[in-house]
């Protein structure tokens, strides 16, 4: 397998992990909205589903993007595909 194919495979795997986490917090948990609302877990005292829609999911997305960006930069560095000075 060429260097570029390996790079793309790793990139694709990172995409799948990222999208899996995204799916859980944007779609998955809301399948159980009514059940979660009754949960005894109450972040900052808010009902659980309510908290996820106000803050939880939103904050997780922010962190997820920065985490994803960091991982992708590592993959690019590993294969020497990062941009260099002078690339335009």
């Amino acid at each position: 397998m060429s260097k570029q194919e390996q790079h793309w495979e790793k990139t694709r795997n990172l995409l799948f992990i990222t999208l899996a986490i995204w799916f859980v917090f944007s779609i998955g948990i809301f399948l159980f909205g009514a059940e979660m609302q009754e949960s005894s877990i109450k972040p900052f005292g808010y009902p659980l589903t309510y908290w996820f829609t106000c803050q939880g999911s939103l904050a997780i997305f922010v962190i997820l993007i920065f985490w994803f960006a960091g991982r992708q930069e590592k993959i690019d560095d590993e294969f020497g595909f990062s941009e260099r000075e002078g690339d335009k």
């Binding site: 793309w8 995204w22 009514a34 829609t53 939103l58 997305f61 993007i65 992708q72 690019d76």
Partner: protein, 603 residues
Amino acid sequence: MIKGKFIDNLPKVYGIYTGGFLVFIILMAIAEQAGMSAKLIGIFFVAFTVLIYALIGWLSRTLQVDAYYVAGRQVPTVFNGMATAADWMSGASFVAMAGGIYFKGYGYMALLVGWTGGYVLVASLLAPYLRKFGCYTVPDFIGTRYGGNLARFSAVIVLTVASFTYVTAQINATGTIASVALDIPFGIAVYVGLASILMCSMLGGMRAVTWTQVAQYIVLIIAYLLPVFWISSKLGAGFFPHFMLADEVARIAELEGQFGFVKNSAADLATVPKGLAGITKAHSSVNATPWAFISLAVCMMAGTASLPHVMMRYFTTPSVRTARRSVGWSLFFIFLLYSSAPMLATLSKLSLIDPTLPTGIIGKTIAEVQAIDWYQNWNQANLMFISDFNGNGTLELNEFFMGGKAVVLATPEIAGLPYVISGLVAAGGMAAAMSTADGLVLAISNALSHDIYYKIINPKAETAKRLIVARVLLVLIGFAGATIAALEIQGILGSVIWAFDFAMSGLFFPLVLGVWWKRANAPGAVAGMLLGLISGTAYLIWVRSGGSGFLGITQLTFGIVGAAVSLVSMIVVSLITAAPDAATQKMVDDVRVPSGKTVLAQK
């Protein structure tokens, strides 16, 4: 004070700007104490900020193609994040969202999840790859990746339909705010709003829009957060509302149980002015089916990843790496406002309905409420209404009606904050609507000038001519938008949601598969774009004209139909026609690695 290149001095420039704006707020507060009228404060706030944006727009004027279309590709990560946040958060986010949450609760909060979750798709599926491509516009990517004028032309059609739907809503919002703040009729205010929008974008294109959007973000975020924190402290709910409103949320649920949701008769409701609503849904409980919630969130997420005015912001960063990080910063800046909207809705509702608070009006006599100053003001502005349906002389929960905009616009006044805050909020709303309108008008006119005029009609046109065409189109599109906005066909929020559905129907899969599926070819992409847009639109028309719809897909989620048709037709047509040639496949390979020249620069 400032030496060297503008780009190196950005933190200093915007630091001074922010400081100056805060000083301006304090000066206005002092002027209010000294007896300046509320009307005059409102005019000062809106006029002062709009003039600053116009000044930035004029200073950023340019005669270079690269600067006009992609701000010279040198906008630093964090500043591009701020500009994208302003580009993204429209009049709907600023003025209407807290109101929607106030009235509809959980079912509406799908928009919060959708409008933030979409950025994960932008960061992982599209933005870095489109940046590597090095295109000027979104149809530029489609046209080059798939090849052929038909693909390019189809992308321009989808872009125009989606962005134009969106921009009329934003011009409408600038008109609404300008008409209230400057006290002029709506029909004229729309054109005042348009003039301010064009001043920001016409001379400097993307470069001017970038630097005004950063300035607009600073104004809008101060204008949104300051009242939320202030009201929260004033009510004794806590100095940091985001972490401290649990008791208030519980108290609202308790009051709702106590009052009950009494259903009004149709005859009673007919007396309520159009556009106003009462509280009919529980504040924090799960009041929508999983499918209703998820389908709306999915449409907003896919729409986010397909809206060209957002995508083109990531063409302006210096590199692929910074494009990726810039998406994270964009979402962070958006998060600051979005996580505050539910808090504002909670504070607003509690201060109105809790009889133990001095501001509470439920349980007071009708005559008492009618004597309150702010009630009279907002009743006159057609945003508040009470009526004694049951004739007992006391105001009940089901007898109080409010417009969605009032939650953001009126809450500071209800909570007893000085008028300077209301002026600030008006300036913030204006900034939010203007920044989005600028991005949208530019997206449409750039697509028409670059993709239709330069790439299809006259590829030999010289730079000066291209930029003149771009500016003429900008003005024409602005006027067309304002003319339609003045007709007030659909509410602000409704048109915004439609825009997402249109974009998702036609562009989501052609964009994503362009990067992630090498086998995708031009006939497939054209089929995906056109059939997606047509089927989505047909479904919308069918449901609007009384059709029953299927699978619980409503006029707000018709993008699901469009995108599904788009995906299937794109795959089927791609597979039954010839695979893309070797050069195209090589192009896709190049897009997938960050290093090396941009794809368009290689050609």
